[in-house]
């Protein structure tokens, strides 16, 4: 499989690494602008309220304050903040500023002042009289008759059923699951719950806006989606797209949280109101409840299997909340169905989902995009079924997993905002992932090791699988522009947004490989809506396969032009020439060559031609990367603490363009998933206010918490990807949580169906289990179920 590449497939250092390790000013906020004003947003203290009166006069009178904006001062344009391709499948239910607030943290007003202290003081001086409305905080009661209606405004569009707070509803079936359950010998149905969690990019959201000398609005922003942001801001501020210029500098992490037009509109409005540069940067606290989060879900999964373990029917029913606004509501939840259920071949599949509004912080895109929730439920249930059948969970999976040659029809029925396209599985390394991962965690030995019943420390191992996509089929597209300079360097200009993923490096590797030049000959620039061509942005695991596809095509075009000129210079037909080692050489034995540097100078000053090309690229299919992940845990039965000892990730990513970076992507995803499993949750009080908006109380995994990590790249050759690549940015975030939950079950015999699994929950469950066991041994033991089942929590 492995071909001889010189740049692709190598763990080269990041092309943008030097500036990062030396702390050069590269990020959004790393500029000093004369006359910069500080923007601040007044957050709503109420979960649901009408603004009856708002008086900004005392704030406006404050020295240093240049603008105070309320809903009375700005255009009312329904829109979505979801950074998606036009027409966005998310409802248009959001306004720049509104007379109604829908969650604690919703925008009430915005100010711009000379200093941060003045801006903060101005917020305190805005007088607001609210008519407080009953809030809808519990998603399980959002559709109740009589529940307050969160979106009762007449001008929002695209809401499935606003009067019942339903943002989106999805129902898809393949075969007939009821028939499938009748065919099954064993049916198990369980309910699982996943928490509201936050991306926690270390760089918070930050935008800086100003008017350039031509009075165009310039937006310098930490965004994954510069082009969508340009289009959305233009619409919201009622400017022609032509008058908006978005610059994406270095991004300090995104994870989907920045696939959102979040601050750019209000920051731009303040610049238009003042004529001055304005910066808005969220504080860490604001970042927690005024940015975006992962949709919490309640999932009921029912699976029917034959006696031999063959799955015949799989039915998943989901209730999710999108919070106060429907950003990514239908598409995240659509993914919960379309990317999760098809992991297993089942003739009968059904996915049903309600996404409801609540007066809670807004959910949005977050790495995994609906899959972490779905895989936690499905993989936990699969472990439960394998346990009930007395089958090894790896064998159970091997029997049922999708494989190369299969066609996933659920994806065809569940596209993003429209009918999708069937997924043809052209490459699948999942069986090898299972085998190599099992060997790395020592599954055979550790799975059978007896517990030391005297010790309070119990060990267990667990496994889970997942898949993702590589871009949204038929929707995501990208372009690239490439030109040759007279010193044989190349400018590669891409709209793709490296947000720490290593995209700039991977795209440069693809270009260098195609051009037969060293990596350091590439100068990558990304991204700027004035200077780089269109790209949907960095999301849906699309950059390597889609932007990389565009780069490869552009590089092939440039190579062809290079060969044409070399042909004249060497008097050899182009088909006898090839680019290699920074030169053009003959393929035949005559051994003629010209260096790329001589050729570049010749082309520019003798031929008088700019060697350059551009290309666009999209796919009509989304090849899934696959992952098998294994956890070994140690549970302290005295404190309830779960310590993850070892986490193995075996991932089929197609070909790794840069193995070192690919490992880093997988490992970062694992860290986030372990937090999801064990510690992270945005906790809201009874009024809808987040009680833990800081890193002391919202616990993410640090170097001290992380287990030993083993990352195995299982390379396959994907025909649709550049140099055989698929994707690796998201897939590894899906399975660690269910693998940990299953490992905990195998350690202490308690099945947790709600995340995060905190020590107090472990202790409570162990006490209940003990009480049941004592009860059982005291009473007639008889035909009661085994202890693990009675320890169920839901």
């Amino acid at each position: 499989m492995s071909r001889n590449y010189t740049v692709v497939g190598k763990s080269v250092k990041k092309v943008d690494g030097f500036k990062l390790v030396t702390g050069r000013p590269a990020f959004t906020d790393d500029i000093i602008l004369p006359g910069l004003l500080y923007g601040k947003i007044l957050p709503s203290p109420h979960a649901h309220a009408l603004i009856k009166r708002i008086d900004t006069s005392r704030a406006r009178a404050l020295p240093g304050v240049h603008a105070v904006l309320t809903y009375k001062d700005v255009p009312r344009v329904p829109h979505t903040t979801a950074g998606q391709s036009w027409p966005e499948p998310s409802p248009y239910d959001t306004y720049l500023l509104d007379s109604k607030v829908r969650f604690v943290g919703d925008r009430v007003a915005a100010v711009a002042a000379e200093t941060r202290a003045q801006a903060e003081e101005a917020l305190r001086r805005i007088e607001v009289e609210y008519e407080v409305l009953p809030p809808v905080l519990d998603m399980e009661h959002a559709m109740d008759p009589g529940a307050a209606v969160i979106h009762d405004e007449p001008d929002s569009t695209g809401i499935y059923n606003a009067s019942h707070n339903v943002a989106a509803y999805i129902l898809r079936e393949i075969g007939n699951v009821e028939e499938g359950f009748r065919e099954a010998n064993f049916v198990l149905e369980r309910e699982y719950r996943t928490p509201r969690v936050q991306h926690c990019t270390i760089e918070p959201h930050v935008s800086i806006t100003w008017l350039d000398p031509d009075s165009r609005l310039v937006i310098r922003s930490s965004t994954q989606v510069p082009y969508h942001t340009r289009r959305q801001v233009a619409m919201i501020l009622q400017l022609p797209v032509q008058r908006v210029h978005v610059i994406k500098p270095r991004i300090g992490g995104g994870f989907g949280g920045k696939q959102e037009m979040l601050l750019e509109d209000i920051c731009g409005a303040l610049t238009l109101a003042t004529g001055r540069p304005v910066k808005i940067e969220y504080t860490r606290e604001e970042e927690f409840y005024m940015a975006r989060s992962r949709h919490p879900q309640v999932l009921r999964v029912k699976m029917g299997v034959k006696r031999d373990g063959t799955i015949v029917a799989n039915h998943m029913k989901v209730l999710a909340t999108t919070g106060a606004y429907g950003s990514h509501s239908s598409t995240v939840q659509g993914n919960t169905g379309s990317k999760v259920l098809p992991l297993y071949r089942a003739p009968h599949m059904k996915f049903e989902c309600h996404v409801v509004y609540t007066n809670t912080p807004v959910a949005g895109a977050f790495r995994g995009y609906g899959c972490p929730q779905g895989f936690f439920a499905q993989e936990s249930l699969v472990d439960e079924i394998a346990h009930e059948l007395g089958m090894d969970p790896i064998e159970f999976r091997k029997k049922n997993i999708i494989r190369a040659g299969d066609i996933d029809e659920l994806s065809a029925r569940l596209g993003e905002g429209k009918k999708g396209l069937p997924r043809h599985i052209r490459s699948c390394g999942l069986p090898e992932c299972l085998e190599r991962g099992a060997a790395a965690i020592e599954w055979e030995r550790k799975g059978k090791a007896p517990q030391d019943q005297r010790s309070h420390l119990r060990r267990g191992v667990g496994v889970a699988c997942s898949m993702q996509g590589s871009a949204i089929a038929g929707i995501d597209w990208a372009s690239a522009f490439l030109k040759l300079n007279e010193d044989a360097s190349f400018n590669l200009q891409v709209g793709a947004s490296d947000l720490g993923t290593g995209a700039d490096t991977v795209l440069a590797q693809i270009a260098a490989e195609t051009l037969g030049v060293r990596l350091d000959k590439l100068v990558v620039y990304s991204s700027d809506t004035d200077f780089t061509p269109f790209d949907v942005g960095a999301y849906a695991s699309s950059t390597t396969i889609i932007s990389g596809g565009a780069v490869k095509k552009a590089a092939e075009g440039v190579r062809e032009q290079i060969l044409r000129i070399a042909s004249k210079m060497l008097d050899v037909p182009p088909e006898n020439l090839t680019c290699r080692d920074n030169q053009v050489v003959t393929k035949c034995e005559c051994k003629k060559s010209v260096s790329m540097a001589d050729l570049a100078l010749h082309a520019m000053y003798k031929e008088k031609v700019q060697i350059m090309d551009h290309a666009s690229h999209f796919n009509t299919d989304s090849p899934p990367p696959f992952c098998a992940q294994f956890a070994e845990v140690e549970v302290d039965t005295e404190t309830g603490r779960i310590r993850v000892v070892h986490l193995v990730t075996a991932v089929d990513l197609g070909r790794a363009i840069n193995p070192m970076q690919a490992e880093g992507q997988a490992e970062g995803a694992v860290a986030q998933s372990l937090g999801y499993a064990l510690s992270e949750e945005m906790v809201l009080d009874k009024s809808g206010r987040m009680v833990n908006p800081g890193f002391l109380d919202y616990k993410i995994f640090t170097a001290k918490d992380m287990p030993k990590l083993t990352t195995i790249l299982v390379e396959t050759e994907e025909p649709l990807g550049p140099y055989g690549a698929k994707s690796v940015g998201e897939v590894a975030i899906n399975a660690p949580a269910p693998a940990v939950a299953s490992a905990v079950f195998h350690a202490i015999g308690v099945r947790f169906r709600q995340l995060p699994i905190r020590p107090e929950a472990v202790l409570r469950a162990l006490r209940e289990k003990q009480a049941h066991e004592q009860e059982a041994s005291a009473g007639a033991a008889g035909n009661r179920a085994s202890s693990p089942r009675r320890a169920e929590r839901h």
Binding site: S11, F27, I251, R284, M660, E663, E667, F695, A703, L709
Partner: protein, 174 residues
């Protein structure tokens, strides 16, 4: 608003003597960024994430929870002063070589914290490295590569300094 009181603070930063006019309540983080040391990052402003780490008299500290006035008379090192021109410090080299940099926002803090650790402890164990890096939140890497980078940097620094490692073998982060 009453007229802002100002004061003078003198520091030696990245080897250069500087005099800054500050307000008594100014935080060191804000003053450093205002003075152009933009490699000092703002991540939480509550002393939790470590993105604003600088060395104050050789000790790694969160500049977001220090008053600038507290730095008066101190020697400061920010990320801008770690490399010698275009020659990287072995720690910086190791971070690149081992893929320990992803988005790069937490990287300056990690590198400075590592610098302080290796200065007092040239041969740390993996556990000691984990303890140290626990003060630098990172959401990108999962920490395996930063831990490897720190251990490799320690080795490189020792080799450069001609010192023999006191503890020959270490667990490694894998």
């Amino acid at each position: 608003m009453p007229a802002m009181k100002t004061m003078l603070t003198r520091v030696k930063i990245n080897g250069e003597a500087k005099e800054w006019t500050i307000a008594p309540g100014d935080l060191l983080l804000d003053v450093l960024r205002r003075e152009g040391y933009l490699g000092v990052k703002r991540g939480c402003e509550t002393g939790e994430c470590g993105a604003c780490t600088v060395l104050v008299n050789g000790r790694a500290m969160n500049s977001c929870v220090l008053f600038a006035a507290q730095a008066d008379g101190c020697e400061l090192l920010t990320i801008e002063g770690v490399a010698q021109g275009d020659t990287l410090d072995p720690i910086q080299e190791a971070f690149l070589e081992h893929g320990a940099v992803q988005c790069g926002f937490c990287t300056p803090g990690m590198i400075l914290n590592t610098k302080a650790l290796l200065a007092r402890h040239p041969d740390p164990t993996e556990e000691e490295v984990r303890d140290m890096l626990a003060g630098n939140y990172c959401r990108c890497t999962g920490f395996r590569k930063p831990i490897e980078a720190v251990l490799a940097a320690a080795q490189a620094c020792r080799a450069k300094g001609g010192k023999k490692p006191s503890r020959a073998t270490k667990g490694g982060a894998r």
